[in-house]
Symmetry: C2
Subunit: 325 residues, 2 copies
């Protein structure tokens, strides 16, 4: 299939073509990279935008169940939903853990849903680039909402928040006074905190936990681009499918407000500049990954370790070597 | 003064020559960099090693008082002590905050002490390189102990621990059950935790805090290169100069054990390889700091922000431009 044919099919919303294109963007082969650039160029003219929702949460919080229930609700409203995952650790297990179709059984059978596991890449930089390109493909394929899930390992939350229009933090009800060890930096990224499992025996605990987080969010500085009341904490039950419509209404209200006030476009522009900067840095450091560069690094590293060369002198030699490679 | 003369004076322990040489290594001028390389080369032959002690602590813990009392005790034992500081934030205030001689009045008057504030550099990479080179100069000048102080901003603890033989964490007595918000990563770096201010009204609290930290340290995995009982928590009083000699005895015991078991040399070799790797990466990214590169980044960044170029396409153009610069 030519790139033009592939682009046409994606624009018609063909999920198979979309899956194929994502496989293409996940490839590191030079010819595939060139095709990807062509494809994205061809699709960018369509100017389609989805609501990109980043989603993070502590382990065991019921993220897959939430995505399933939330996704089904959106589909019930006539929307098309794509789910992508950012999991730099998945390389170890040879594929995705989250975003797995078997964990979202109903959603994966829906014609208006598209679920794609995290690519098996060990570098977060590689995962980030592929995920951004996959988002662009989903938008071109006419999806209304793109959910980008992160496992919350290392820097993955920052990566996801830098490619999302809204960022959700999903938390479990917790007794005690500890705020589940959620880092302040993650709290500051969140537009909304959803306390899941507000059902059965945990309902009262969830309500208390939600109040605790609402209090914690009030202590953070309100972002100037947001209306009163944001960032916001709410309770939901993914299992009982309760509170999801209210949460969605709040997300839409926030998105509309930002669009009307120019913050939406400004945010996307800033994100694009951020990724441009990241890609340049990533590409400069990628020179060190070439086989010849690696073997020179190993050789000089051994000299440094043995005390025959200082780190600075070895670095100078390495840069001279790189200029020849 | 020629580089050879400077090297000779440093090897004789001349503090003025040492100060002058550190000013040289703090310079970014190309000719100064070349002289630095020559100087370090000339000095490396001496093969002198100091005990490099990294020191971090929460604000208000009494770090300057500790360094003063601890340093005076070492000098009382006939040792020569150098104090360096790593503070990437000091660029803002135009110089050092910590390591300031006025805060270590007695120590700064001692002929066997040398105190050098943090260089005014905004990049942690730059500060790290200068500090490593300053350590090498202090070792060549015959100092027995080099204390490297960090303010604990951002990544500065990692930087200091990667250039230290031992890493100390200085903490204040704390009521309550909170462990003063010390990050797990910092705890894991520490060879010893010293709970300061174990004097007067705070003595009992300090003992309890010390027991809490001793318990927390037991939960961390023991490093295979360490003898039983390490990492260790102890109480000290910098003001009453109490417990400092015991702490010093423990540090020496740990250092001796590591030397006898080959871990000392292995650690220094690993650190040297780490800094080699960091310097290569730093140098590759430094290409972006050239004025021409900056203006091209700004230009392409604006195109990306305006949506006229994708981040990837702009990054490719930037790399082509860098090849010409």
């Amino acid at each position: 299939m030519t790139t033009t044919e592939l682009a046409d099919r994606i624009l018609k919303g063909d999920r198979r073509a979309l899956a194929r294109a994502i496989t293409l963007v996940e490839s590191t082969r030079a010819d595939h990279r060139a095709q990807t650039t062509q494809l994205l160029e061809a699709l960018s003219g369509a100017g389609r935008q989805a609501l990109r929702i980043g989603l993070s949460g502590t382990p065991g919080v019921g993220k897959s169940t939430f995505i399933e229930s939330f996704g089904m609700m959106l589909i019930g409203q006539g929307l098309r939903v794509a789910v992508l995952a950012v999991d730099p650790s998945s390389a170890r297990s040879g594929g995705s853990i989250l975003g797995d179709k078997t964990r979202m059984e109903r959603l994966s059978r829906e014609p208006n849903a598209f679920i794609r596991p995290s690519p098996s890449q060990s570098h977060l930089g590689g995962v980030a680039r592929r995920t951004r390109e996959a988002i662009a493909l989903c938008e071109a394929a006419g999806f209304d909402v793109v959910l980008i899930e992160t496992v919350g390992v290392g820097q993955s939350e920052t990566v996801v928040s830098e490619m999302s229009d809204l960022f959700l933090l999903l938390l479990a009800p917790a007794g005690g006074d500890e705020l589940q060890g959620v880092k302040r930096g993650i709290m500051e990224m969140a537009d909304m905190i959803l306390v899941n499992k507000a059902d059965g025996d945990l309902k009262a605990t969830a309500t208390r936990t939600c109040a605790d987080y609402a209090g914690a969010l009030r202590l953070l500085r309100k972002r100037p681009q947001d209306p009163e009341g944001f960032p916001k904490a709410m309770t939901v039950s993914a299992v009982e499918e309760h509170g999801l419509d209210q949460a969605w209404a709040e997300m839409q209200a926030l998105a509309d407000w930002r669009k009307q006030n120019g913050h939406w476009d400004a945010n996307r522009a800033e994100q694009a500049r951020y990724w441009f900067d990241q890609e340049v840095r990533h590409a400069l450091l990628a020179k060190l990954e070439a086989p010849q560069a690696r073997s020179e690094m190993d050789h000089l590293g051994a000299e440094v370790g043995a005390g025959r060369l200082s780190p600075s002198a070895a670095a100078e030699r390495m840069l001279q070597a790189l200029a020849q490679i």
